[in-house]
């Protein structure tokens, strides 16, 4: 236990210690400054990260959930086995490889960096995670519930939606939130797809900034103020990840209270 | 592998067989006492009382087995029959008691024509023996003989009564004592048939039609 806590604690302590001093309104809402200046913020990076998360939710998450549902409920055949295998392989891909792939497909081909390319890369990383956690959650729903619903004369698709998925929903949501927490910090695929920027989002075919990129960029600057900004960005990123994790705890705790489905 | 209930059933069976033997002896003794003119009332009263208590015990044990083990099918039929049969055996004792009572009340009956009573008595003793054997061995065919044997005893009794009814001069003592004893013997014979009727019931659930 101690071995696990010590690295975690030391990271948190370092980040908080170094990053807290940068925390102010200007930091959260301002654009990055010019080297040598002592004003500047990481607002575009925050905006970028949130935008990417949003796009990934639209692109990657739904397909992952649907794939997970399919595999759990209808995937007990050769086709399902193949999908599961491919899914596992995909989850092992190094994120930089995913980044290169999407970069070649979307960035090089269209000669522009874009948020969409970034979101697509992140979706490819998210997809296998969400598929697997969704499938696992649905598999934990006991067969007796499906039996009970079918015996009432409820159709198969309705049973799957209103009984199976609804019973598994906290597990599914957990999986989604954890995968988002994971991709918030992905750096490699973003380098090749969104490039990074000092400005807010302006168009779908322009590069944007994101927190991991900002940290990466700022940490190597000669200017001490900018390096300090990196710590601040790191702190913000950790806050986002921790918030998502705490959110997961709250979501799963709700399972044991009298939560109801509105049919 | 023996069941829990088997211990109780074995005990029940043994109690019923003990009663069978005792009641058979009691009736034989009573009839022989009459024929030989001996007064064995005390002995017979004692046995009759013992039979009555045994019947209570059988009844209690049967009810306990039913409450505890909820028996069904042949087990249930056997237990029910044990209750009925033990009642029959206790009646044997009772009628033996009554027969020896007659001797006590009427005193010396050596002058009476005891032919009918001897015949009926022998038949009754035989019927008891047959009914016990059929019950013990679950012999349905043997049990089926009892009906005819019962008819014999019935006829002896009815003939005696009819004859006495038309007698112009009769010895009151002989007629009354004879009628009483033959009546008891007829009842003993009836109960012996009831014992026999439990045999097909235990074996195959068949019930005899009540007359």
């Amino acid at each position: 236990m101690v071995v696990a806590i010590v690295p975690l604690a030391s990271i948190l302590v370092e980040v908080i210690r170094n990053g807290l001093s940068t925390m102010n309104l200007q930091f959260i809402t301002g654009l990055p400054g010019v080297p040598g200046e002592t004003v500047g913020g990481i607002a575009p990076a925050i905006q970028g990260t949130l935008l990417l998360i949003g796009l990934t939710c639209v692109i990657g998450i739904p397909s992952g959930v649907l794939a997970g549902i399919y595999l759990a409920e209808f995937g007990n055949n050769k086709f399902g086995k193949a999908i599961r295998f491919l899914n596992d392989v995909l989850s092992e891909f190094p994120s930089i490889v995913v980044g290169i792939l999407i970069s070649v497909l979307l960035v090089v081909a269209t000669h522009q960096y874009s948020p969409v390319a970034g979101a697509v890369a992140l979706s490819v990383i998210t997809l296998p995670i969400v598929t697997r956690t969704t499938e696992e959650s649905i598999k934990t729903v006991p067969n007796s519930l499906r039996d009970a619903a079918m015996a009432l004369g409820i159709r198969r698709w309705r049973t799957t939606i209103s009984v199976v998925i609804s019973t598994a929903r906290s597990g599914i949501i957990t999986g989604i939130l954890l995968s988002i927490a994971r991709i918030s910090g992905e750096t490699a695929p973003l380098i090749l797809t969104i490039l990074g920027s000092n400005f807010f989002f302006s168009a779908w075919n322009q590069p944007i900034d994101a927190l991991p990129l900002r940290i990466f960029h700022d940490a190597f600057q000669a200017d001490p103020f900018t390096r300090q900004q990196a710590w601040g960005a790191a702190l913000v990123l950790i806050i986002i990840v921790l918030t998502l994790n705490v959110g997961v705890r709250l979501a799963t705790r709700g399972r044991y209270s009298s939560s109801r489905t509105r049919l | 592998m023996p069941r829990l209930m088997d211990i109780g059933l074995e005990k029940l069976r043994n109690m019923v067989l003990d009663m069978a033997e005792l009641s058979q002896n009691t009736v034989s003794t009573a009839i022989d006492a009459y024929v030989q003119g001996r007064d064995l009332r005390e002995r017979i009263f004692g046995w009759s009382e013992e039979l009555r208590m045994l019947q209570d015990e059988v009844s209690e044990l049967a009810v306990e087995i039913i409450a505890r083990y909820q028996p069904v099918a042949s087990d249930l039929r056997f237990i029910k029959s044990c209750m009925e049969v033990s009642y029959g055996f206790s009646r044997f004792g009772r009628y033996a008691h009554d027969i020896s009572d007659v001797i006590g009340i009427f005193g010396d009956l050596s002058n009476c024509d005891r032919h009918a009573i001897q015949e009926a008595g022998a038949q009754a003793k035989d019927m008891i023996r047959v009914s016990i054997k059929a019950f013990t061995e679950r012999d349905v065919e043997l049990a089926s003989n009892l009906k005819k044997m019962d008819d014999v005893v019935d006829n002896i009794y009815l003939d005696f009564v009819k004859k006495s009814a038309h007698e112009t001069e009769a010895n009151l003592k002989c007629v009354v004592s004879g009628t009483l004893i033959l009546r008891y013997l007829e009842r003993i014979a009836d109960h012996a048939t009831y014992v026999g009727e439990t045999v097909p019931y235990i074996v195959s659930g068949e019930r005899a039609a009540r007359k």
Partner: protein, 276 residues
Amino acid sequence: MTSQVQLEELKLESKPLTPANQPLEKYKVRTENLNAWFGNNHVLKDISIGFLTNDVTAIIGPSGCGKSTLIRCLNRMHELVPGARTKGSVLLDDSDIYGRGVDPVSVRRRVGMVFQKPNPFPTMSVYDNVAAGLKLNGVRNHVVLDKAVQRSLEQAFLWDEVRTDLDKSGSSLSGGQQQRLCIARALAVEPEIILMDEPCSALDPIATAKIEELIASLKEQYTVGIVTHNMQQAARVSDFTAFLYLGQLIEYGETTNLFENPKEQLTERYLTGKFG
């Protein structure tokens, strides 16, 4: 296992319908030469049996004899298991539920089922659990639903205990209450037959007694079939009893007669506990 050998020695075939020589119309549901398989495992062999309308029929037999499979064929749940199949007819009011073009879902609305372990939907309230069969089939009218929920809970002897807590989660009830909730849920869709697969095995004796009383009251309006491994329960609640062994119907008759004087040796041996 000697009983297997003896079965062959006795050359038993499944017996046809025997109870009381009733005319066929009196049977709410009956099977004709029903066979069922799990893959290559032949679990029901030529079963011809019927449940008389508004009576309680019990199905008894040792573990693995096919009793659960039999009732699951009556509401077309058996075929949901991968590799399972059936052959033969099941006639509900004289029309074959396995006939061409028959929608299994419609069969399941007419033939309700309650399972061994109470299985209320965990994310739904008591109210929603009972209403599930109606709501999830498109009934939206609140008045209709309210009435149905109350009626079903009353019929399941549960209304008084939950009327003030209809919004509580279904899983917050005790085991016995949960099972009655499942019964109410099955009753809400107004089936014609209620099938119960060992409904009391997971319950304590008091909860069991309540459910047995409930079964006795249900038969006024419904036809009830109950699978049980508890012979005494079959003796207590049923009007007719069927004894299954190794997938074959060995004996079937009025409960009193079957328990007092079974016709088949095998039945006699099973009832008196001479084999498992």
